[in-house]
Symmetry: C2
Subunit: 791 residues, 2 copies
């Protein structure tokens, strides 16, 4: 028996199939084989389980090509992924769908209908989501689908199969408590009741075949990206690959994964224009635009907008819009929305609704929304939440988990500086969702400007970014020397303007870009002996505009594997911005303990709860004096987050921003990700501060941005499974570690309060140090004569 199962990462399909292989291998005389295909997308990626069973030893290689049994655990995959293509004639097909046996046929894509008929498939349907939901399992449908497989495949007698499945559930969830087991049992018991046979209908010739890639796609996307997405990468010729490995950015928007079951829907009557929903969205799928009233002329009637309340921008409208096919349905936006209906406080300005009822109209709205040009960046204050969210994000629709705590920081950074960012990205979650071949969430604005991005190794990312900085600085120096040399041809005014420009603010940078445009025009005209220099400068002119290097990675990189280099780069005095997305654990590789893991948390390699305290990375950086250091948490204080990123970018020396990032590894309800961050700060678990080596209003570099702790650490950590599991399994050790953690937090808070009072006596040097450049003339300095060299 050969079986194929199509699921989505996180729906439990792979886990259930692994269990099935074990059950069959252990309780029958059959041989069993299982192979599981999945990619590096954090959520919503297709998983394929290949299972084989039989009385003879199985020597087949892994992929199943003629399946006796095919299951599709996600209705949305139908028509987007080749599923029935792999079924034998007469095979059994099990589909999870939100439609009953009589309705389902008319909701199938035409090519699926055709395959079902051509292959004479035995077709079964179940609304597994409904069963799981009723059993209190949320969207985890694995224990619903598994009994259906055993029922239809007939490998074990049905009663024995159910008993084996339950035994497995009991073993797996023993440590997680009775309630979890009871819910799984309920789901198992009700699954077969809802399994229904479907009579094949006629093929509807008028239903369009599903398209995988959105319209309007560029040539490369059509030729390469789309085929990779369709799983046809093996068939592409090598010549289709970019010779230098550079992939076009901004391609996630062509994916249209449509994985959400529920999406946020806007009620403009209640909205208070705060921008918080857009601020926290991990996938940049809920957006805010402000535009002149005239912009909605010609809008489709479905398009929603409201008055924008602003004295500076009268006669402007505001729209909050979801991208319905890109949203993952995580619900974080709704959780943070502060605007509630006066008559029904459960109704907010945005509310999660079933996607089926809203997708079509939201697609129309999204299309028009996209056609409205973004507001001029100079018309709005960037250092406010509302203002920042009117700016265009240049990081969108990544493959990060629903509710990801990391991605909102990246998206916000691209809104503030995206058109001049160069990113060195350490290996980890952010390098995976940051360039999840074949698509890239980093994108460009209408002028074609956007972040340049690269990933080197886990262990050298800080050095990699420092190299980018040194290269940019060298190119800028070279370009400036050429400008000086070309002064006779360019004229004093242009030369002085270019070389004397301050580039501290974004407005300064816009002016410098205009000067560079005029320079380029002038260079085109240069001939005679300076013509060759002019051509050279044409290639380097862009380097006269300041760009920001961002060195980005997780705590596994920053606290552990890349720490030696990070420390070296901090000590260099160079103008780099380091952003640490701190999930306190190696999230990408499955939850190994890092030096950022807090005391008492359970992680891999810390099965008994980590005994030592979280490393104080900020203190290490502050000890250099000339490093800007901020500890931030968007959910706790989105305004402080925004200010910290702006200050870090503006500081001409090294900056380190440590961003608290909630993660599925913490064992929390990810739809409450931002509320959880607020509690972390309230308890003193994650204090907020900014250490500013620049001149400050009051001469005090250390600014404490959160209030004195008001709830015990223990109350906060009890809400995370990684801590709670230790309280259940080793209550004494948990209590001991919790007491130490509380003492640490108390001591730290007292220390921070003292630190906030300290004035600096001598200002820090913030120009980059000359010494990182190897001396050209070794006689220039002091040389000691080492014995043994005989010198």
């Amino acid at each position: 028996v050969q079986a194929l199962f199509f699921g989505l990462g996180s729906d439990g399909t792979v886990g259930a199939n692994k269990a099935s292989v074990k059950i069959i291998g252990e309780s029958t005389d059959l041989f069993a084989q299982g192979y599981f295909q999945y990619d590096s997308k954090k959520s919503g990626a297709v998983t394929v389980s290949h299972l084989r069973f039989g009385p003879e030893p199985i020597r087949s290689t892994y992929l199943v090509e003629d399946a006796d049994f095919v299951a599709c655990h996600q209705f949305g995959l139908l028509g987007r992924t080749k599923i029935l293509e792999h079924a034998k004639k007469g095979a059994t097909f099990l589909l999870n769908a939100p439609y009953g046996p009589t309705e389902i046929w008319d909701h199938l894509p035409a090519d699926v209908q055709r395959l079902l008929r051509d292959k004479e498939i035995d077709f079964w349907v179940i609304d597994a989501l409904a069963v799981a939901d009723e059993a209190g399992m949320g969207s985890r449908i694995n224990t619903v689908m598994q009994p259906c497989f055993f029922q239809l495949a007939g490998i074990l007698p049905p009663a024995e199969a159910i008993s084996r499945i339950k035994g497995f559930v009991e073993k797996t969830y023993a440590k997680r408590g009775e309630a979890i087991i009871a819910r799984n049992f309920a789901a198992i018991d009700h699954s077969l009741e809802r399994l229904a046979h479907v009579t094949l209908g006629a093929v509807a010739d008028d239903l369009p075949a599903a398209t995988l890639v959105a319209d309007g796609r560029p040539d490369f996307v059509a030729r390469v990206t789309a085929r990779l997405m369709a799983g046809e990468g093996d068939q592409l010729p090598v010549s289709a690959m970019p010779a230098d490995g550079t992939f076009p950015s901004g391609t996630t928007k062509y994916e249209k994964r449509a994985i959400a079951q529920m999406i946020p829907v806007w009620d403009q009557a209640i909205c208070i224009d705060c921008g918080k929903c857009a601020m926290v969205c991990p996938h940049a799928t809920i957006r805010m635009k402000v535009f002149p009233t005239a912009a909605v002329e010609g809008a489709p009637p479905e398009f929603l907008h409201k008055e924008f309340r602003s004295r500076e921008l009268p006669d402007h409208r505001l729209t909050i819009q979801v991208a319905p096919d890109d949203c993952t349905g995580c619900g974080v936006c709704v959780d943070v929305c502060p605007a509630k209906s006066k008559t029904d406080t459960s109704h907010k300005a945005i509310n999660m609704e079933p996607v089926a009822a809203h997708r079509d109209v939201e697609r129309v709205r999204w299309d028009f929304f996209q056609s409205i040009p973004p507001l001029d960046r100079s018309l709005i204050a960037h250092d406010t939440v509302k203002g920042s969210q009117v700016l265009e994000p240049l990081f969108e629709f990544s493959g990060a988990c629903g509710g990801c705590g990391e991605t909102p920081y990246l998206r916000l950074a691209t809104q503030l500086f995206g058109d001049r960012m160069i990113v060195a990205n350490a290996t980890g979650c952010s390098s995976i969702y940051g360039a999840n071949l074949p698509t890239t969430p980093w994108t460009v604005n209408a002028e074609g400007r956007g972040p340049a991005w690269n990933n080197s190794l886990f262990e050298d990312n800080a050095e990699f970014g420092l190299g980018m900085r040194l290269a940019l600085d060298a190119q800028t120096d070279h370009a400036r020397r050429l400008v000086e040399k070309l002064a006779p041809a360019l004229g004093t005014e242009m030369v002085d303007g270019l070389l004397g420009a301050t580039q501290d603010t974004e407005a300064d940078i816009v002016l410098q870009r205009e000067r560079v445009d005029r320079l380029r025009q002038a260079l085109e005209q240069v001939d005679g002996p300076l013509a060759s220099d002019a051509r050279h400068l044409l290639a380097l002119a862009g380097d006269l505009v300041r760009r920001g290097v961002w060195i980005i990675g997780g705590d596994g990189w920053a606290y552990d594997i890349g720490f030696g280099g990070l420390d070296q780069v901090l000590s260099s005095g160079r103008n780099v911005n380091i952003l640490v997305l701190d999930t306190e654990v190696y999230s990408n590789t499955g939850g190994q303990s890092s030096k950022a893991t807090p005391r008492g948390a359970v992680a891999k390699f810390a099965a008994a709860g980590k005994g030592t305290a979280k490393k104080d990375l900020g203190a290490i950086a502050r000890s250099y004096g000339n490093v800007y250091v901020a500890q931030i948490s968007m959910g706790a204080n989105d305004l402080q987050t925004t200010k910290a990123l702006l200050e870090a970018e503006a500081w001409p020396g090294p900056s380190l921003v440590i961003a608290y990032s909630t993660c599925i590894a913490h064992g929390i309800d990810m739809s409450k990700s931002m509320t959880h961050q607020k509690d972390a700060v309230k308890s003193g678990y994650w204090p907020l501060y900014r250490y500013r080596p620049s001149e400050t209003e009051d001469g005090k570099p250390f600014k404490l941005d959160s209030n004195a702790p008001s709830i015990p650490i223990a109350d906060f950590v009890a809400t995370e499974t990684r801590f709670a599991v230790l309280q259940r399994t080793q209550p004494e050790r948990a209590a001991e570690l919790a007491a130490l953690a509380q003492a640490d937090a108390d001591e730290r808070w007292r220390y921070y309060e003292q630190l906030a009072d300290v004035e600096r006596t001598v200002p820090h040097i913030h120009r980059p140090d000359p010494e990182i450049v190897p001396e050209v003339e070794s006689d220039a300095g002091y040389r000691y004569e080492r014995e043994g060299d005989g010198a």
Copy 2:
């Protein structure tokens, strides 16, 4: 013309010859070639310069085998190194010797006399040391020998040669001031006056041939080490090399380099028994022994001893003894000696005297001194300077520079714990002088116990040492389990004694060793079903005794290249002792700036003076809470140094000891190395402290061990060339950096004073954390189900 020059590292021979090659190449039509041989010994290693000049292009390979001209710049090399073996018949030989042309012949080894006669050598002699000394050049004889070479080789007219040499000196020392140049000129001008021709005498058959290796050498030393020392390594068969790369330790004592011109001589009438001379000796060549009066029965009449003033040990004598052939003559012992003659305060209890006048008698004394057994370790307090210096050093006669600031810390550590040390040594000076093939300064005591030593890579030394710790712990666990299993054969008393032993103090460890000896005897008797376990335990019995892992390296390793690993090991909670020999610069590779280099110091890659502050490694380690951290300086407080090492070893978690190590790279008078360290502490440049996570008397972990700064930082740093050179070349920048350095030091001191008042509220866990061992049962802990894994 082919010329060969034999010198010692640091005497300037190689530098002068490089200059000669340039002078001849640039000012004549001759072609020139120079090749320079030297090894990794820090001082006192032979250097050989091979020079060729001629009217035709030179295509010879490097080594000169038939020299027209041979110079021996160090009298001591004669008879120990093959020198005249490489001379042509009739060649010219120039010898630097403390004897005039009429006396010299009788001071030559017989085989040298024979070669001079057989080869009909034109023999010249000069007392270059006397000329250099008179010119104020100390022992730097290069500018004395160089004019003699030009005079005798006749390549340039003498007047032109002198003028060229002076030109070169002027260029080389331009930045170091007029005085240096004037001294060099004086040395040059007086050199030829003292050059004298020697008439060859008769070969004295009764003079013994010089021996290279001391008597009583073990077989391996005779077969392998001695031949490597004699420069015959290329002729050894591969089979002579140890198959596993393990070399015997304790072999430097067979070298007898006899490189000192002056050695310390003891005046027992003035000595006050303080032990400071032995404490500071970088080469363990001045030693203190205390012994019962009966031990001197049969002593040669030359042997000196005095009453040992001690109530606990009446009727004991004390001797301070130099090893005359191992001493480098650095003079540090005399500098620190606090006991002065009442009638002549320039006369101390030890005084530097010319070696020629004292070698013979000191050899006799040293031989007898060695025959006296060391005092029982339990009879003396280890936590005093005097007590520690009565303990036998197990690190001796290394190839470190004369006056080295690092080696006294290593020697002291071996006195305190040498018989149970396992050393992971990072690459750097300490790995070079620590295993300078063919000899090793790490040695063993009479029982054959001594440090085991290894060197892995620059970048992984901390991890290397952690691995040693984990391996030892695993072996101990295994041995303990075997003891339990063998209880029926061993009896309850023995088993309980072995497993229940505390091993906190050295006395505890001695008792445990005795238990292990009894265990071994008992195991020999075991037969029957447990015999195989007994044999297994016999191999592991030594692992029941606690051993200490020492992770050792310089600042280049600890602050830079190995810092990521060092930080990881500190965070592990494991019982390792990390000793950082902080010279504030990459000393071994020639003085590159490290993150330990202080603000304002000139180094390679910091030619304009380092602009950023020294990294605060101690603060980083203290932030973990459960790490013992000490900052020490032997010259400033030898008692605190001793206590810190003892506390670090006793603390069952990680320890970090940062030891201020004066170095030739600082540009100071190395004979005043320890006095300089005292000034560093007085100025607040190097505060002393101990951070103790263990329970302390007053509940305060941070103990400040030095007084408030009493001299300005600027006054202190002005005494080091690495700072002074910047004051001369870039006074404004030097002043700016000095102001910042003073502000940093002031802030740090205020912070330390506060820190010293802080009490700890909750004691730190100091048992090792279990988490570093990978979990065997992955279901044991909390597992989160990562999306994308599909689990």
